[in-house]
Symmetry: C2
Subunit: 123 residues, 2 copies
Amino acid sequence: MKRDIQKEHAQSCDMLHHHDELVERVVHEMPPEEDLYDLADFFKVFADTTRIKILYVLLKQEMCVCDIAQTLEMTQSAISHQLRILKQMDLVKNRRDGKIIYYSLADNHIVSILSQGMDHINE
Amino acid sequence: MKRDIQKEHAQSCDMLHHHDELVERVVHEMPPEEDLYDLADFFKVFADTTRIKILYVLLKQEMCVCDIAQTLEMTQSAISHQLRILKQMDLVKNRRDGKIIYYSLADNHIVSILSQGMDHINE
DNA sequence: TTTACATATGAACAATTATTCATATATTTA
DNA sequence: TAAATATATGAATAATTGTTCATATGTAAA
């Protein structure tokens, strides 16, 4: 993930910014850097069509890797890579049944985030 | 945005997938491709620290480009580029007052999406 | 109508990332 | 134990994207 290099001084607006103590105040009200990075990383998971599709599949149905691949007409490898990312972010969980590993949504939080997104694009 | 090339046939699992009519059913229950792309594009906007920071700033306070740059210690150009993306996605709006252009959040939808994200990472 | 200032934008570069391909691991069955 | 099947994973490649730099646009003041 790209973490931006901090400038010693922002030299925008020829150093003549308008609202000095406003800036000061808002700077102090900002959440910790770390949280903002984590939040961006969280949304990054939803920022890919393949992962969105996987989540929509699992929304309907627990499924094995093979069937997800079949459903999305993609390779098993591609799906497996993306499932790993979803798992790392605790968006999906899995259980093993013999050779087959079934994936499902980790919690209902995800459903409501997806719905809110859908609401916005269909405003 | 990267749109994946569809395979004629998914050849995962050596063509021997487990749950044929399950796959069939879920395929038909999927939302339109287009919507899924749009949804991923929507979340892509939140998937960058700079844009997240801008949104958190505007959550507190309407602000001009220059002051946002000052607040985040980044160049005016970088902020301006990101504001354009936020505007295109209807996450922010702006008004002109003389030479200065003030940006603010487009609606309260955004607040709740950010909060839900924060909730998840602090689960 | 020049000059200064606030913002926007195009091109180039650096960094990130999704998929593919080859192969490894794990489990079941013969 | 060997063979087959389901899934995972590392490396390479192609594509996307955020920032910088230089410059353009638009507005106000001199």
